[in-house]
Amino acid sequence: MTFAVGDLFLILPELLVITAACVVLVLDPVLRGPRKDVLVWFSLGTLAICMGVTASQVSGPTAIFSGLVIIDAYGAFWKLLLYFVTGLTILLSYSYLKEERLYFGEYYGFVLLALAGMMVMVSADDLLTIYLGTELMSLSLYVLAGLKRAEPRSLEASAKYFVLGAFSSGILLYGISLLYGATGSTRLPEIATAIASQGLSDPLLLLSTILLAVGFGFKLAVVPFHMWTPDVYQGAPTSVTAFMAVASKAASFGAFLRVFIEGLGGLKANWSAIFLLLCIATLLIGNIVALVQTNVKRMLAYSSIAHAGYALIGVVAAGRMEGSSGIASVLLYLALYTFMTFGAFAIVAMLRKGDIEGEEIEDFTGLSKRHPLAALLMLIFMVSLAGIPPTAGFVGKLYIFKSAVEAGMTWLAALGLIFAAISAYFYLRLVMVMYMREPIDHSDTAPHLVMSPTLSIVLACTVAGVVIFGVYPNPLVSFAMQAVLILK
């Protein structure tokens, strides 16, 4: 076992993010009042540098630190997506935290630490590093969810997230320990070799696969492991909710795909059967329960559950066919999902009713009269989430369903299409409320959108992504194809 100094240069983005997080945590008590804004620009600057470094690393796989970490195009794809989401989160939080009167500099420190955990998750090639990355991400998110300390709902969300997160980590870790016993290693390539040579006879192997599926199921919020999602998404500060719904889901999918494709690829017949059940249950519960929600944050939480179900269609398809178009469709789907979900949460975050968030569907009543532009943007996000052309959501679903058809599961694509039609009902209901009803409340506490320059940047970036990739998705598609080819 050797330690090569050169390896440190390859994990430069991770080191930079962690250093920046520590600097932010240290500087926070030193800076007073408005000077804390420096921390925001410092964090954004770090992300810009990391983006440059990672963009230059889109190349063949290089295993470093004795195979604990791998630098490849697959990891770079997720990392670039995560930088983008984190940047948007910081910009949104800047105005959101002011509005909520939460002056915590350490907020940005925890966002960066969570990002560091996610970056480790997507570039880890060993179950140990994947576990450590997952925990770093989760621990930071537990804290962020409970940041509104004066608000009992936020603390309750944090406690529920912590209990179920710790429980799922325990299950994941037990699965890892059994897999270690069955294959004699925690390195994903060595696990794949062991499975290929000794076959599938070991009952420990199957048990560990199920436990890993359950552990990741909690992180990805697929039914029946989704119970925490609506509560946590509703209770957490909305900027954190947006971060969790997008970044933590993307990173969990990144690690999940690497474990199941690269490590447990030999068991694909077994796991694709498990995920087929989870996928159908997720589509069913996610879309049906969203129909009866009256709180927009809860509705978007169920929508994010349902979208994980669509992404799972791609995973199931990948397990049933040769070639990599199934995985590419999952990557593409999650990248496109980022724009529309983040945009929708950004509008919810900045819609204020007096001193609190206007997060009930009623608060959107007649929004088109008061804020025509915001209502139009929300319309675009909702149409995209429902998967109606010409938006990003349509392109994502198109590729997912195409890979299901290629895998010989036309019925699954048809099922997905039916659920997409059902989901249009609750997305368009919000549009209906915004456009077809007159505003009821004309007092000073009536819901109104608080605009700020940073919010404008966030909305401009997300809506540009939804529209541009909806019309011209080719660059993203080819990047997803390139990112995936290296994964066996």
Partner: protein
């Protein structure tokens, strides 16, 4: 005379299941936290037993990391519980009903 590795797996399975049942049926968050610790320690038994069985140090290294992570998790968990107790004066999860569970 050595103890066969299967004995360790059975022991760890019992400890793990005790933890899982504890998380599911206990109503006090501290008790739930302790049950999660049981689950994590069951994995440590597994790792050490397999490490010895396979004559591979990787498992023991994993235990060090798992212990550290468990300690960090308890620190964050207790902080959340203290904040919760200050605002609600209870740590019984049945009384946390502001959000539909």
């Amino acid at each position: 005379m050595t103890v066969p590795v299967s004995y360790y797996i059975i022991l760890s399975a019992i400890v793990f299941l005790t933890g899982v049942v504890g998380v599911l049926i206990r109503r006090n968050i501290i008790a739930i936290l302790l049950s999660v610790e049981l689950m994590l320690n069951a994995t440590n038994i597994n790792f050490v037993a397999f490490s010895d069985h396979l004559q591979d140090l990787g498992g023991q290294v994993f235990v060090f990391f798992a212990l550290t992570v468990a300690a960090a998790e308890v620190a964050v968990g207790l902080a959340i519980i203290i904040a919760l107790h200050r605002s609600r004066s209870t740590i019984n999860i049945e009384e946390f009903n502001l959000l539909k569970w």
